[in-house]
């Protein structure tokens, strides 16, 4: 099993360092559990037409230490529901990273990504050779390799399927 190359467009660029992901749905809405409702609210503060313009496989881009603060799960649930395949950022905050990888959200750390892409560029994220390519401009940047556990979690779809596949014979 290996991670397939992801092809999509840059649906949004969060250029703020230490970005608090709760802003994606708005802090007021963070306790909403209905994903349809959340998705309608997602990105409203950034682009009212976001939901209508996203296609499955698109990604969002982040700056350094993306997900800092006290990240909750609903914002990325909402983005995934809209078809966003993952987040590519300069770097991630560890709490956000761990939480979202366990949900099966594709995350890739790519130092230099902010200089590589503009909104709506076509990109290809190739896990095999570890490169993020901008298909619109021809540029490319290496991505940071995943740990074995994180890669397996993304391959299997998240924490529970990962643990089901790789669990020791003895349990806790």
């Amino acid at each position: 099993m290996s991670l397939a190359t992801l092809r999509g467009r840059v649906a949004w660029i969060f250029d703020e360092e230490n970005f608090d992901v709760d802003q994606i749905v708005g802090v007021k809405n963070i306790k909403i559990t209905n994903v349809e409702e959340l998705s309608k609210l997602a990105m409203r503060g950034y682009d009212a037409d976001f939901a209508a313009s996203v296609r499955p496989g698109d990604v969002v881009i982040g700056a350094g230490n993306f997900g800092y603060g006290h990240p909750h799960y609903p914002p990325l649930r909402a983005l995934r529901h809209l078809g966003i395949a993952g987040v590519i950022a300069e770097s991630f905050s560890p709490g956000f990273w761990r939480g979202e990888i366990s949900m099966g959200t594709m995350l890739a750390a790519c130092p230099g990504v902010l200089g590589l892409v503009r909104r709506w560029d076509e990109i290809a994220l190739d896990w095999q050779d570890g490169m993020l390519r901008n298909l619109t401009t021809g540029g490319a940047r290496p991505i940071e390799p995943l740990s074995d556990a994180d890669r397996t979690m993304l391959e299997t779809g998240g924490l529970v399927p990962y643990l089901k596949r790789s669990r020791d014979l003895t349990h806790a």
Partner: protein, 418 residues
Amino acid sequence: MGYTLAEKVLARVSGRDHVRAGEEVMAKPDFVVVYDFPGYTDVIFRQMKEDFGIGLLAEPDRFAVFIDHMVPVATAAEEQLHIQTRDWCREQSVPLYERRGIGHQVSAELGYASPGAFVVHFDGHISQLGAFGTLAIGLRRNVLEAFVREHVSLKVPHTTRINLTGALQKGVMARDVFHHIVRVLGPSACRFQVMEVGGPALAGISLEGRQVICGLAMFTGAITGVVNPDALSRAYTDPRARLHLPEVSSDADAEYAAVHDIEISALEPVIVVPPNPANTRNLMDHVGLPMNAGYLGSCASGRLEDLRIAAQILKGRRVRDGFSLHVIPTSQEIMARAAEEGLISTLVEAGAFTSSPSCDYCFGRIAVLSGGQRAMSTGTLNVAGRMGNPDSEIYLCNAAAVAAAAIEGCVADPRKYL
């Protein structure tokens, strides 16, 4: 080249002679500590059974469950969650600690903070056990791994060393030191690393203060914080530790990702302005800003030195009319000591509202703010909505600054009352 404390602990618990930062290991936690909370423990208990077919845990004494949130309950649904937790612990023979205080503090009191031990939780503030030389990491939902198999997968973290030099001025506390570290090094300085704090100034920082610094490590990007054990920490852990492990400290020639020296002699009280925990400012630049409420408590404060300094400031004075001051000791043990010392009566006579320990003041479940209100808080976080309303503002500070604000109804310099 020597090894860091984190490398040594993770070598032991992964059954290896040595490990280096960057290696992936399967590490067996000495203790798995959680508090009951919807979406975490109830889901874990269900998944264990339904997804993994696990009946009983093989080593229940490696686990500890705290009931510290939703204490006391406000709804029947909350009580139902606690009932499920009690039933699960009974069925599993897992120790349950209810109404003893905030679990991150009580787990230190109960010896889960054994020097050299490896502890996991879902909540990142468990990092405060690092004050005792324990490597304690919050895994968020990945803590499920520790419930369904012996080991958790982990990349051995690099360590950034912070040497504190100098001595704290009167009215400046460990809380200020931590936010100063964030101000100097930035909110991603220790990203995915261990924040190791040491240096000559540490001798003047209490164990309680070290708990505060380590407990907030996540806001430097760190996955945990540690202090190498010393005579002060051993005096606390020797009679309490559940595990007596070989002495573990970072070697003098350990390989650090970075080493920073931070001088604290000139440090003044700070205030962390909303909306995020990286916004450290000098408190003096905000003096006079009107405040409606004050919160002294949480796993990042509410300990004896915090209660003592607040009592010293409030003794013979009054909380300003209309200002809501909540002073919540962090554990029953601390509360009993504070009562013996007369701190509780001093605080109450000044007009503070106190209650038994609970996490509920910190995460906006009770004592909430209304839109447009502002609080001075020793809670863990100042993100919007943390105290119940996204249109209110939370300013983080030390315990003395909360007390001073309570007297004046605005940001005030605590040093003039000391």
